[in-house]
Symmetry: C2
Subunit: 338 residues, 2 copies
C-alpha cells in the first residue's frame, strides 16, 4: 500500500494501518525510512494531540496489570487508548513484552485500545526515534491517550519523559531497604508517583509508602507553572481498581493546568526542537562514524582521553581538524553546503 493510502487510513483511525505505519518507522531499510519520513510529514497535524503519559516502574510492580486496568477505565469512558512499550534492551524486549501483552488481556481485546510491543533494539538513539515516531502515529490515528511504558533500563525514563506530557512512576509498597528502589533521576522526573498493590494485606504498607514518597516530593521545588501539590504520590490498586479514577483525575488536572498556563505547548515545542537537534547531531556523528578512518580515530582518541593521557580538549581539536579540514576547505572554496 502506498504512503498516501496508508496515511488516509491512519488518519481514519484504522488500527491495522497504524500497526503497518509503526512497522514502517521501525524499519532500518533506507527505502522504508524514506517512506516513513514521508508518511510522518503527511500525517503531521498539530491539532491532533493525545495526552502522552510516560509510565515507568520496576519489574514486579504490576505495570502491565496496572496498564490493563487503567487503560480499560479510559476506554470505558469512551476514550481511545494506545499503549507503546519502550525497552532499549533488545534481549529483554521479546520476552517481557510478550508477557506484558498477555497480562493486558482485557485491553488487548478492547477495540478502543491499541497495544504495541517495543521493537527489539539495542541502540537507545534508535529506540528514541522509533518511539517518538510511533507516538506521533498514534496521535495521527486519533488516540486520546498514549501510554508510553518503559522498563526503566538505563536512560530510558529520561528519554520517555522527553517525549511525553506527564510522567508516572509506579512503585510497589515497601519498607526499609526495599524503599531504595527508585533509580536516581526518576523521582524528580515523575509528576505522579503511584504506589500500586494498595489492596488486601498490603493496603496499610502502601499508604505508608505513599506517605514516605509524598514527604520526599515535598523536598523538591515545584515545577514552574504546576499547580499546588504536584508532583503527587497516590496509592492505587490495579486489582481492586481503588485510586485509578483519582489517578486519572489528577493527570487531567495537571494536563489542563499546563494547557492553560501554556506550559504544555512550550514543553512540546521544546521537546520537538530537542529531538530535531538530537537527530541532526546523531546524523552528523553517524556520518562521521561511518568513515572507518574517522571511527578509528575517535576510538583511539577516546581511549587516550579516558586514561588521562590526552586532555579532552586537545583530543577534540585533533579530531575536529581531521573531520572538518576538508569541510572548511570546501566552505572556503565556496562550494557551500547546499
Amino acid at each position: 500500500m502506498d504512503t498516501d493510502a496508508l496515511a488516509t487510513r491512519l488518519l481514519d483511525g484504522d488500527r491495522r494501518a497504524l500497526s503497518r505505519a509503526i512497522t514502517l518507522v521501525e524499519s532500518a531499510r533506507a527505502d522504508h525510512r524514506a517512506a516513513a519520513v514521508k508518511l510522518l510529514a503527511r500525517v503531521a497535524d498539530p491539532a491532533r494531540q493525545a495526552l502522552r503519559i510516560g509510565l515507568s516502574g520496576t519489574p514486579g510492580v504490576g505495570k502491565s496489570t496496572f496498564v490493563d486496568a487503567f487503560g480499560t477505565r479510559l476506554t470505558g469512558q469512551g476514550l481511545r487508548v494506545a499503549v507503546l512499550a519502550v525497552d532499549p534492551s533488545s534481549t529483554r524486549s521479546g520476552g517481557s513484552i510478550l508477557g506484558d501483552k498477555t497480562r493486558m488481556d482485557r485491553l488487548a481485546r478492547d477495540p478502543a485500545a491499541f497495544i504495541r510491543p517495543s521493537p527489539s533494539q539495542t541502540e537507545l538513539g534508535g529506540v528514541a526515534r522509533r518511539s517518538r515516531e510511533a507516538i506521533a502515529l498514534c496521535e495521527a490515528a486519533g488516540f486520546d491517550a498514549v501510554i508510553v511504558e518503559t522498563v526503566g533500563v538505563g536512560q530510558s525514563e529520561t528519554m520517555v519523559a522527553r517525549m511525553t506530557d506527564l510522567f508516572v512512576l509506579l512503585l510497589a509498597p515497601g519498607g526499609g531497604d526495599e524503599l531504595q528502589g527508585v533509580k536516581r533521576g526518576i523521582m524528580e522526573t515523575a509528576d505522579l508517583i503511584l504506589i500500586n498493590k494498595a489492596d488486601g494485606a498490603l493496603t496499610a504498607q502502601a499508604q505508608a509508602t505513599r506517605a514516605d514518597y509524598a514527604g520526599a516530593l515535598r523536598l523538591l521545588r515545584r515545577r514552574d507553572g504546576d499547580p499546588d501539590g504536584f508532583p503527587k504520590a497516590l496509592a492505587v490498586s490495579a486489582v481492586s481498581g481503588d485510586g485509578l479514577d483519582t489517578a486519572w483525575k489528577e493527570m487531567q488536572v495537571l494536563a489542563a493546568h499546563r494547557r492553560d498556563t501554556g506550559h504544555w505547548d512550550r514543553t512540546r515545542a521544546a521537546q520537538n526542537r530537542h529531538w530535531f537537534e538530537d537527530a541532526v547531531r546523531q546524523g552528523v556523528m553517524r556520518h562521521l562514524g561511518s568513515d572507518p578512518a574517522t571511527r578509528d580515530a575517535m576510538d583511539a582518541l577516546g581511549r587516550a582521553v579516558a586514561d588521562g593521557r590526552t586532555p579532552p580538549g586537545a583530543a577534540a581539536e585533533q579530531m575536529l581538524a581531521t573531520l572538518l579540514g576538508s569541510a572548511r576547505d570546501r566552505a572556503a572554496g565556496g562550494h557551500g553546503t547546499g
Copy 2:
C-alpha cells in the same frame, strides 16, 4: 612567558603561573586557545589527581562562608586547596563572585589555597570547557582538593557533577514550604547533603531538616559501588565549625571506597570520554552553525518543528542532506575526511 616555561612553573605549584594558565584557557582568542591546548597536553599527568569536590547551594545558604571554613580546615591539615567558582550567568558572575571572594577572606589570605572567580560567560558549553580545564590545571599544580562551587543556575550542577569526583549540596535549615528549595535533579546528584547553619537558634531546625533529607535519600537506590549509608545528609555549621570534620571524613570514606572499587577510575574515564565527545559534537555543530546558510536552515527548521508543522525526523533528514550532501560526495569521491 612561553608555554613550556609556564608549564614548568605550573607543575612546581606556582600559584601565579596557575592564575596565568587559567587566564589562558579562559581566553577565546585563537592563538591563546592553541597555546592552552598545548599547555594542557604538556602538563597532563594521570598520576596527579586532586579530590574534585562539586559544591552547590542556593544563594543565602552560606556557601562562601562554608568554603572559607571548610577549606581552612583542609589547609590546616597541610592540604593545598583550590576553589573554582562556576557561574554560567555572566550577569551574576561579576558581582556574586567578587562578594564570594571577600567572604572567603581567611582562605583568600592562605598561601596553601587558591581561589579563582568564574569567568564571565553566557554559553554553558564554554563554561564547561573552561571549568574542566581550570580543574586540570589545579591538579597539575599539585593541589590536593579542588572545590568547584556553582551557584546552581540551570544545568550547572549537572555540568559540575560531570567534572568532579563527588558532589556536595549545601542547604539551609527550613521547614514546610521552604523545604521545596531543592532544584530537581540535584538531590539525586548529591553524595552529601549538608544542612548548614546548625548553630544557635537554628540547631534544632537544622537537625530536623537533616532528618527530612536523610529520609528522602533513603528512598533512592544506592549508587553502584557506594558504601552503605551514602548519599548522606549531615548538619554542619560554617560558623561554629561543627560537623566540618565529619563532612570531610565522610568525603574521604566515599572517595577511598570508590578508589578501592575502581568506581573512581571508571567515573573519571567516563567523564573524560564524555567531555571529549561533547567537545567534538560542539565543534562540529559550531562549524555547521558558522555557515550562515546552515544556521538559517537550522533555525527555520527548528521553528517548523517546534510548532508541530514538521516532524523532527523529516526536518533532520532535510538538514542532514544539506549538511552532509557534499561531504557524502566527497567521501564517495574518495577525498576522505583526513
